[in-house]
């Protein structure tokens, strides 16, 4: 493990890595602060830029965006009461109150400092969990990978979003789109409709930019609400150390909640942030200040959402199952560079994993530095005119899509998936599940067929091997759980009506 870190440090401390990470963190802060651009969208927009990069550098840069976006999202939460990212939603409550009282600098400073502490802690948690878990996962063969893919899809379909059926449909649509192209086993074309452009299949990056970024732009144009801008002057006085030290309980709570949410598929830190906010209030010596501008009320959710940046990497790196939109973009970047996430990642390409560990540590420090420098310029970013912002992002998306393989095909894919994604959002489908289906489709199909090849066609192979059987059982429980809950609620409703 020590050699791993030496190797990782060598990669992460290269000038190119540092520059790309700095760029990533800066773009993350800007992206997070741009209303409507979440961390995952900011990351997806950068995917076309990573084509020529070393995979280790590409992942470090994207992790930098993820980390930076967490702070960027809090800037809008505090200054205009609009969370720039879902993870910053709980910060709005007390952050905006502080801003109204003229204590904007203190609110932003607490967000930045507790976020950095949370982020750095999470890197250690990541290392502590991921390395042993990856050893455990070494026993994985094709049946286990198949079961894992199914389990991951079941988790995302059923826990993200409220509607299991629509989640399952979304996941299936992703899997279906992923089958277009050349069959991985026999090399025969499938569902290409005679189009040579489709022989290589639908580019995951294009689908992801469409489903995440373009759909969000369409959503904002079609269902736009009023936009608040910052008025008046406010103080940029930073919090003092004494004030930060007082926040330690809130930070511990945020760390625990962020760790739990990172390990489970969730809403990009939003749930952990809200739970930590409530818990911090319960444990606080001054619960009455919550909701009226409490620094603890900013510290708890801000620690939590930054802790998620590290812990969300645990299921991604060890099993190849992303738990959030941002982790899904990381997975796409890995596949783009032919890096297979999962246990073998640690064995075959330790420089990527350990580079990411060291890189995330550095990126958190960069966020701290850039965060302080950007305290004033951030306000200009937050107040950018929405028509300009939306148009700029659309133009970036279109040119970025073209750049994927220097042809128009991906531009159309991005537009089509963007339109589809907007429709899916509007009618309650699960965009993340579709992205996951698209990303995991190849892995699921190949391992299904490989397993049956090994077992000479005997489907029991998935149930006689313990790990695969347990994973499939979990998948089944995951899918049945919402149905059982619904039945119970129905019965309760009937009983209530009868009584």
């Amino acid at each position: 493990m020590l050699e791993g870190f030496t190797l990782g440090a060598q990669i992460a401390l290269q000038p190119l890595s540092l520059v790309m990470m700095l760029f990533g963190v800066a773009w993350g802060i800007i992206g997070g602060a741009l209303p409507g651009i979440s961390g995952s969208i900011a990351m997806a927009l950068l995917l076309p830029l990573t084509f020529d990069m070393d995979p280790a550098v590409a992942l470090m840069m994207l992790a930098g965006v993820y980390i930076g976006a967490m702070y960027g999202g809090s800037i809008t939460a505090i200054l205009i009461r609009t969370p720039g990212t879902p993870g910053a939603a709980a910060t709005v409550i007390d952050g905006y109150e502080l801003h109204k009282r003229g204590l904007s600098g203190k609110a932003l400073g607490v967000s930045l400092i507790t976020g950095t502490i949370g982020g750095i802690t999470s890197v250690f948690i990541l290392v502590g969990f991921a390395v042993p878990l990856s050893r455990l996962a070494l026993a994985f063969g094709p049946p286990e990978y198949f079961a894992l893919g199914v389990f991951g899809l079941a988790l995302i379909s059923s826990f993200v979003g409220r509607d299991l059926l629509k989640g399952a449909i979304s996941g299936l649509l992703g899997l279906i789109v992923a089958t277009a192209g050349t069959d991985p086993f026999s090399g025969t074309p499938r569902f290409t409709f005679g189009e040579t452009d489709l022989l290589t299949g639908v580019e995951i990056v294009a689908g992801m930019i469409g489903l995440f970024a373009v759909s969000e732009m369409f959503y904002q144009i079609a269902e736009s609400g009023a936009w608040e801008t910052i008025r008046g002057k406010f103080s940029t006085d930073l919090p003092r150390w004494v004030e930060i030290v007082k926040l330690k309980t809130a930070m511990v709570i945020g760390t625990v909640m962020g760790t739990i949410e990172g390990l489970l598929p969730g809403g990009g830190g939003a749930i952990a942030a809200f739970i930590s906010y409530n818990e911090a209030k319960r444990w606080s010596k001054h619960p009455e200040e919550f909701g009226h501008g409490s620094l603890e009320g900013v510290a708890a959710p801000e620690t939590a959402n930054n802790v998620v940046t590290g812990t969300a990497m645990i299921p991604l790196l060890t099993f190849g199952i992303p738990g959030s939109n941002s982790a899904a973009v990381m997975l796409a970047a890995m596949m783009l560079h032919g890096v297979q996430p999962g246990p073998l990642l640690f064995e075959r390409t330790p420089q990527i994993v350990y580079g990411l560990f060291v890189g995330m540590f550095i990126a958190n420090l960069m966020m701290l530095g850039l965060g302080f420098l950007s305290l004033r310029p951030a306000i200009a970013v937050v107040n950018i005119q929405r028509p300009l912002l939306l148009t700029g992002i659309l133009a970036l998306v279109l040119v970025g899509a073209y750049s994927i393989s220097n042809r128009m095909f991906e531009v159309w894919v991005v537009l089509a998936t963007g339109l589809l994604g907007y429709g899916m959002r509007r009618y309650g489908f699960n965009v993340l599940a579709m992205v996951l289906g698209l990303v995991l489709g190849f892995m699921v199909e190949v391992n299904l067929r490989r397993s049956l090849l090994i077992s000479l066609g005997n489907p029991w192979v998935f149930f006689t091997r313990p790990i695969s059987a347990v994973l499939l059982l979990f998948a089944l429980i995951t899918l049945l759980w919402p149905i059982l809950r619904q039945l119970r609620e129905d019965r309760r409703a009937r009983l209530a009506r009868a009584a």
């Binding site: 026999s186 028509p387 133009a395 279109l398 750049s403």
Partner: protein, 149 residues
Amino acid sequence: MRRADLLIGVGLLVIAILYYQQTFAITVGFASDRLGPAFFPRLLALALGACAVALSWRSIRGRSDPGPLPPVQARLFLATLGLTVAYALLLHPLGYLLATPLYVVAVVGVLGYRRPGGLAVAAVGITGVLYLVFVRALKVLVPMGPLGR
């Protein structure tokens, strides 16, 4: 919402059937595995079909959540979409350096920003920044149209 779900369910069922039908168009090579390239797609088609039926059935029985959908700014949305499609179609004939500023001015204008100075800055700025990043730094071969010749 319920009617929409029914329509979506029926639409998805049609997609599942068409997709299933398309699996028969796959020519199986002799080098394939036991399951062949059509097996997994058929499995997916059946699953999607089942889910589509379940969705339609649920909406007929009125079990999905009601609640009206928020209103849509249809004109704004369709105008932006139309302009974006037009941009994609005109990128080759006009070239990047002509099509992009036109697109930016049109969309920014449609979305409600009309200050001439700002429009000009946005058109030149967005086109220029993307040009520097993609064409100069990343060496992407964007179509240059008449200007490139």
